[in-house]
């Protein structure tokens, strides 16, 4: 659990962060979203004291972080950054083992944990003896994540973790991240300027502008109940794609065709529209079987899906 209370920070005459407060619940992922210079990275870096706030307090698991030695604090918080910041003179194994070595773990424990992680992160054994420059951007980012996760910290801070990757790599790594069990157990604060990424990974989004919090809420709340024009306009450009991501089959269940009897494989109604469309497109399937609440099954094709989505949209607008 992380809590920020009225945090402010000035750099010279610029008010970088102004009275920012929020809570991140245990195992929740909060995404700080905003344009560059909105203060999101500064806010993030104050959580592990890379930057000290001018005013306000920060608590992690109800402990004021200023009561702790910053180096001890940081060893207990995973940190992933856009430029990854792997040590170029260390091998991959040494990079991953950095914090455990500082904590004086014994060798066997470090090796076990390293192997466990590279397997989960789809890195191959032979990369361990390589140096960072020998790896692709995507592999490096995986190593960066392994370095942050090796001590299994309960809190993870991520500063534009996918910012340096090309689009294709980014999409696939985002998916892997989302599926990673280790990450589901962590309290995560992540910074991004990419709206789609925020919607993909966030439990809640904290939209920031000019150092202040504009709105905090679930992706759906941000999309359908924007607090002001800034929030509305910020999402306007990718509205359709976002809607496909935040609305799932369950939401439009009543606008889909009648239930049928089906005993084969079926998909969950938690699937969002985007994912359902991808399944229908990519796998050349004509129809999807979806099991909704009460174990009822519906079969849908592409036309039925878009039709149901449109009807749901119309209903929302008239509410």
């Amino acid at each position: 659990m992380i809590e920020l209370k009225e945090i402010s920070k000035k750099f010279g005459d610029t008010q970088a962060v102004k009275q920012v407060s929020f809570r991140v619940a245990r195992e929740e992922t909060l995404v700080l979203l905003g344009t560059s210079g909105c203060g999101k990275t500064t806010t993030l870096k104050m959580i592990n004291r890379l930057i000290e706030p001018d005013a306000g307090q920060i608590f992690i698991n109800d402990k004021n972080i200023t009561d702790e030695d910053p180096n001890v604090l940081r060893k207990g918080i995973g940190y992933v950054m856009q430029n990854i910041g792997l040590f170029p003179h260390y091998t991959i194994a040494e990079n991953i083992a950095l914090v455990p070595k500082l904590l004086k773990w014994d060798k066997a424990k470090i090796i076990n944990r390293t192997h466990e992680l590279i397997e989960k992160l789809h890195l191959t054994e032979n990369t361990l003896s390589m140096y960072p420059h020998e790896l692709s951007g995507g592999q490096q980012q995986r190593v960066g994540l392994a370095r942050a996760l090796i001590t299994d910290p309960s809190v993870l801070l991520m500063d534009e973790p996918f910012g340096a990757l090309d689009n294709v790599t980014r999409t696939s790594i985002q998916k892997e991240f989302k599926a990673l069990e280790e990450l589901k157990r962590k309290t995560i604060v992540m910074v991004t300027h990419d709206v789609l990424e925020a919607f993909e990974l966030a439990d809640r989004i904290c939209l920031m502008d000019k150092g202040e919090v504009v709105q905090i809420g679930t992706p759906k709340e941000l999309l359908y109940q924007p607090i002001n024009d800034f929030a509305r306009n910020f999402l306007a450009g990718q509205r359709l794609a976002l809607e496909f991501k935040v609305i799932n089959i369950q939401d439009i269940w009543s606008y889909l065709p009648e239930e049928i009897v089906h005993h084969g494989e079926s998909e969950t109604a938690e699937l969002n529209i985007w994912e359902a469309m991808e399944l229908l497109r990519n796998k050349d399937r004509f129809e999807l079987f979806i099991s909704g609440a009460n174990k009822t099954i519906k079969s849908i094709n592409f036309e039925q899906l878009t039709k149901g989505f449109n009807q749901y949209q119309n209903a929302q607008m008239h509410e």
Binding site: R74, M81, I84, L86, P88, L102
Partner: protein, 523 residues
């Protein structure tokens, strides 16, 4: 002519033990100063990388130190640190500082900010970041600085011989003084090879990849320490008194070689430049020095000349030597220069030297005072009939003589004068004369005989102790060989002499070189 026919290789193999010890001393000097420069420069570089505001000041000071001419720097060191290894090491250290400080600073501030941020974010403390991140990553740049410093040091260390710290400079500067090309090369070639070798080795270290570099970094300090230790190896044989001889004196038959062969003198000897020798004797750093009999500092530092009772030092009567062509071009020149003939005796010359060396009067003023007192002074005539070029060697007496001649020419003829003073040693001055860079300079009969003509030993010996014979011989030979004319001698005899402090000479009852030998044999 034997010496000239000797090949470089013969010289080097003949002097191999000296060559080895000088090379070891050279390597030792280079590396001791390098260790100290690293010990000081590295922390300073780190400091200014942390506190950038200081960087301008620190780099500025190191830069200014770098620009001090090396001989001047060595000179500044003597009053503080005396002579020998200490001031030489400090001077070398100062030259090595700038590249090391600057490269440490540049290396550290050049490290990717994100890597440093990651290190902090992982919870590394400042010491861990320095040792595990900053220094290893800056190491290639730091090594480049050390490499530059090493090469600079190998070069500057040749000057260490000026202040009795040894090294290959002994051969180089001895060779320049003695007009001995083999000797110059015997010092210069190893010094150049040393610089190339060390540069290559360090470039290999620098190019190593990260893994090898880490191992190399453990070996590196050990190697430097071992090489630094070389300086301690060549131990000179001990005696109760210490002599300081100039490089020129060391290699001359009428110098150290003669002392050994004729007197059998065995004394702990260090090689030192003429400029600091007298002061070092006065400061009791040295007991016996090889001076010149008319040197003003003899009077200034209260030194006593030991009697040359076996006559190994030949007469050194000074006289201007002029190119024949210059005599044709300036018909009045010979007559004018001869005005000085017989006017300056030993004691007058010592006094004139005393005024410049000790009372720090300008040579120009000393020259003018002298000419006025002897009635030779005439106001300058604004010469229109061409320019006579006067040369002089790099010590006080020659400056004064050059000034006196300059005033005589200006006052008595219609020639203008250009002085080219401070032309290194005999070889440089003589080469300048032969190559039409100067028209004349004051030379000494003994030097003309033994250094420039180098006749076979029997002739030399026969000649050596007779003033007239020497003068006649060099006059004839110079005319024949070089088309250079010796004008009439000025009067004084500035020969080599061994000297001690008056007080010590009395205490030990040493009045002649034979006394000195007896004293040394007993103790």
């Amino acid at each position: 002519m034997n010496e000239q026919q000797q090949t470089l290789w013969q010289f080097m193999s003949g002097q191999s033990d000296k060559l080895l010890s000088q090379t070891l001393q050279h390597v030792g000097l280079t590396f001791i100063s390098l260790i100290l420069a690293i010990a000081i420069g590295l922390p300073l570089g780190i400091l200014i990388a942390r506190k950038r505001k200081l960087s301008g000041t620190v780099l500025g000071i190191a830069g200014v130190l770098q620009t001090i001419p090396s001989i001047a720097l060595l000179g500044f060191m003597i009053p503080v640190l005396g002579i020998g290894a200490k001031p030489a090491i400090v001077a070398l250290l100062i030259y090595a500082l700038l590249p090391i400080i600057r490269n440490t600073y540049t290396g550290i501030i050049g490290i990717d900010q994100h890597v440093k941020e990651a290190a902090r974010a992982m919870g590394m403390n400042k010491g861990q970041i320095l040792l595990k991140v900053e220094l290893p990553l800056a190491m290639p740049v730091i090594l480049a600085g050390i490499r530059t410093a090493t090469v600079i040091n190998v070069g500057v260390a040749t000057l260490a011989s000026f202040i009795a710290a040894g090294g290959l400079g002994e051969f180089i500067f001895g060779g320049i003084s003695l007009n001995n090309t083999n000797m110059i090369l015997a010092g210069a070639i190893p010094a150049a090879l040393l610089a190339i070798l060390l540069d290559t080795l360090l470039s290999l270290v620098q190019k190593m990849d990260v893994k090898k570099l880490r191992k190399a970094l453990y070996i590196f300090p050990v190697v430097i320490l071992v090489l630094g230790g070389f300086y301690a190896l060549p131990s000179a044989y001990g005696s109760t008194l210490t002599a300081g001889f100039t490089p020129e004196f060391m290699g001359r038959q009428d110098g150290d070689l003669g002392l050994k062969s004729t007197y059998g003198l065995k004394i702990h000897t260090i090689v030192i430049s003429d400029a600091v020798m007298y002061k070092a004797a006065y400061a009791k750093e040295l007991d016996v020095i090889s001076g010149y009999s008319t040197d003003g500092r003899l009077k200034a530092f209260d030194l006593k000349i030991l009697k040359d009772d076996k006559n190994i030092f030949p007469p050194y009567y000074a006289a201007p030597i002029v190119r024949d062509e210059a005599l044709k071009q300036f018909p009045e020149l010979e007559k004018t220069l001869n005005l000085l003939s017989g006017k300056i005796t030993d004691s007058i010359m010592t006094d004139l030297n005393y005024r410049t060396d000790y009372l720090h009067q300008q040579p120009e003023r000393v020259a003018k005072d002298f000419l006025i007192s002897t009635g030779l002074y005439k106001a300058a005539k604004n010469g229109q009939k061409g320019t006579v070029r006067i040369g002089s060697k790099i010590f006080g007496e020659q400056y004064i003589l050059a000034e006196i001649y300059s005033m005589l020419i200006k006052g008595n003829t219609d020639y203008a004068v250009a002085t080219k003073t401070g032309l290194g040693g005999t070889k440089i001055c003589f080469d300048a004369l032969m190559n039409d860079q100067i028209d004349f300079y004051p030379e000494y009969t003994g030097t003309g005989l033994l250094v420039l003509l180098q006749p076979n030993p029997t002739i030399a010996k026969e000649m050596a102790h007779d003033k007239e014979k020497t003068y006649d011989y060099v006059s004839a030979e110079f005319q024949r060989k070089f088309k250079i004319k010796w004008l009439k001698p000025i009067g004084f005899n500035n020969s080599y002499a061994l000297m001690m402090r008056q007080k010590q000479s009395k205490e030990l009852n040493v009045n002649s070189i034979t006394d000195l030998k007896k004293y040394l044999d007993k103790n």
